[in-house]
């Protein structure tokens, strides 16, 4: 059974919490990494590496810079 968007959000929130300390409850789909969560580009790389381990989905650098919101990441992982 494919993971639901809610499952993926929970996993992504957990990864972001471990890397940045931001409470998982604050990681909601509409949040912007830079503007809302204050996550810098190297932290995004850490998140991408962790997501790769968790979901087996490689996020190339040229795609990573287009992932502006949590929702963008969820869509990328699902597709």
């Amino acid at each position: 059974m494919a993971a639901t968007e809610q499952d993926i959000l929970e996993s992504v929130s957990k990864i972001i919490n471990e890397i940045t300390g931001i409470p998982a409850s604050e990681v909601t789909p509409e949040k912007s990494f830079v503007d809302d969560l204050d996550i810098d580009s190297l932290s995004m790389v850490e998140i991408a590496v962790a997501a790769q381990d968790e979901f087996g989905v490689e996020i190339p650098d040229d795609q990573l810079k287009n992932l502006k919101t949590v929702k963008d990441v969820l869509n990328f992982i699902q597709n």
Binding site: E18, I19, T20, G21, L42, V45, E46, V49, Q52, D53, E58
Partner: protein
């Protein structure tokens, strides 16, 4: 020395060591003669001939927030823990960033990061590496993180000289203040090198004790049965200030960081020079720099690492450079040898000895070696006299680096 030269004082102490997670618990353990050395149970232990070490008593990942700890090599974690303790102990001075410096070093740097990152790279590819791999493995990383944490802009330096690194850092920090480049400098040493490769490599150099049946008895400086050093990990940091700056802000002053001496043996890459000429030179320079005589020196925290070659050469040099009267101890008998961290924690211990007027006894001396004339403290702790006295910390490193720091009572 010129009468109007800037004098440097110590206003803050921080330490995390194999016997305690802060200065107070560490100092209490040393005065109680407790060893921090234990048998290791890591997955690589069967591959090395030495099965024990002095692991930090308090794991730094239990103290630091997880998002911070994961970006730091263990040597950086330990340094940051000790630096924050020292900074708070100094009363967190509100010094201008351009007048605040850092000189903190390790002997080896982020070696565990280097090795685990190499495994990741080989097994899983470059793109699985943390983007923080470089700042975790670079030897200036501990200094840099402390500088960022405290907002230090007057210069952030890492003085790498193997096991002399920590003491050399404190000496350079003193010089930063005396030359007018900073008012406050955070200085010391850190190390986290308990890894299979390091244990194997030091064993290959025939430098480590293999007393596997008695880990807590393995670090036994000056004892006839000593067979090498015991690896320890941790960090020791001091806050140094110009006396003028410290007095103006009403800081509590532990001691004067009065003098420093540096030299190099120019003899052998690992062996001590048998006549001790280089270390006599460092001690003599440090005493001159501090403007004290040998008779003023009442205590010496020796480098003495429990190696057959080094321990006796050092105290014979002490007898020549300072005299046989100082109360000499090796706290490495309890903490093990922290390599680049040694000069940091042992400077903290030297300052505590001055403050409390007590010298912790060297443990594990059952059968004193020949040729030792200095007054070694063993069996029980010894009191230091009242009044104005000086105390010395020696640190020597592979490469023939020698650093001696002189502290005077405040």
């Amino acid at each position: 020395m010129s009468a109007n030269r800037v004098r440097v004082v110590v206003t803050g102490l921080g330490a995390t060591t194999p016997v305690g997670g802060d200065v107070t618990s560490t100092w209490t353990a040393l005065l109680a003669g407790q060893s921090g050395v234990e048998t290791l149970t890591t997955d690589w232990i069967d591959t090395v001939p030495v099965k024990f070490a002095g692991t930090a008593a308090v794991d730094p990942t239990e103290v630091l927030p997880a998002p911070e700890a994961r970006r730091l090599d263990r040597s950086e974690q330990l340094a940051l823990v000790a630096a924050r303790e020292a900074w708070q102990d100094a009363g967190a001075p509100e010094v201008a960033p351009e007048r605040l410096g850092v000189v903190v070093s390790s002997g080896i740097g982020g070696i565990s990061t280097t090795l685990s990152a190499y495994d990741t790279y080989r097994q899983r590819g470059w793109n699985r590496l943390s983007p923080f791999t470089v700042p975790m493995l670079m030897p200036n990383g501990p200094a840099a993180w402390i500088g960022i944490d405290l907002g230090a802009q007057a210069g952030v330096h890492a003085t790498v000289s193997a096991c002399a690194s920590g003491a050399e850092a404190i000496g350079h920090a003193m010089d930063m203040i005396r030359s007018g480049r900073a008012d406050v400098v955070v200085a010391g040493g850190t190390e986290a090198a308990i890894h299979g490769l390091n244990m194997a490599a030091f064993a290959a150099a025939r430098a480590m004790s293999k007393r596997n049946e008695d880990p807590q008895g393995a670090s036994r400086p000056w004892d006839r049965g000593r067979d090498g050093f015991v690896l320890g990990e941790g960090a020791g940091i001091v806050v140094l200030e110009s006396e003028e700056y410290a007095r103006a802000r009403g800081a509590r002053i532990y001691a004067y960081a009065a003098g420093v001496g540096f030299s190099a043996d120019a003899h052998h890459i690992t062996q001590p020079e048998p006549e001790g000429r280089g270390i006599i030179m460092a001690m003599t320079q440090a005493l001159n720099d501090a403007d004290v005589s040998g008779l003023d020196v009442k205590h010496l925290n020796a480098h003495a690492t429990s190696t057959p070659a080094g321990d006796v050469v050092e105290v014979q040099a002490v007898a020549k450079a300072i005299g046989t009267h100082p109360l000499v101890t090796s706290t490495k008998s309890m903490t093990g040898h922290l390599l680049g961290g040694a000069g940091g924690i042992e400077s903290v211990f030297t300052i505590k000895a001055l403050q409390d007027r007590i010298v912790p006894a060297t443990i594990n001396i059952d059968d004193l070696d020949d040729g030792i004339e200095v007054d070694l403290v063993h069996g029980s702790n010894r009191a230091l006299p009242d009044g104005d006295i000086a105390a010395v910390n020696n640190s020597f490193g592979f490469g023939g680096h020698n650093a001696t720091v002189v502290f005077k009572s405040a």
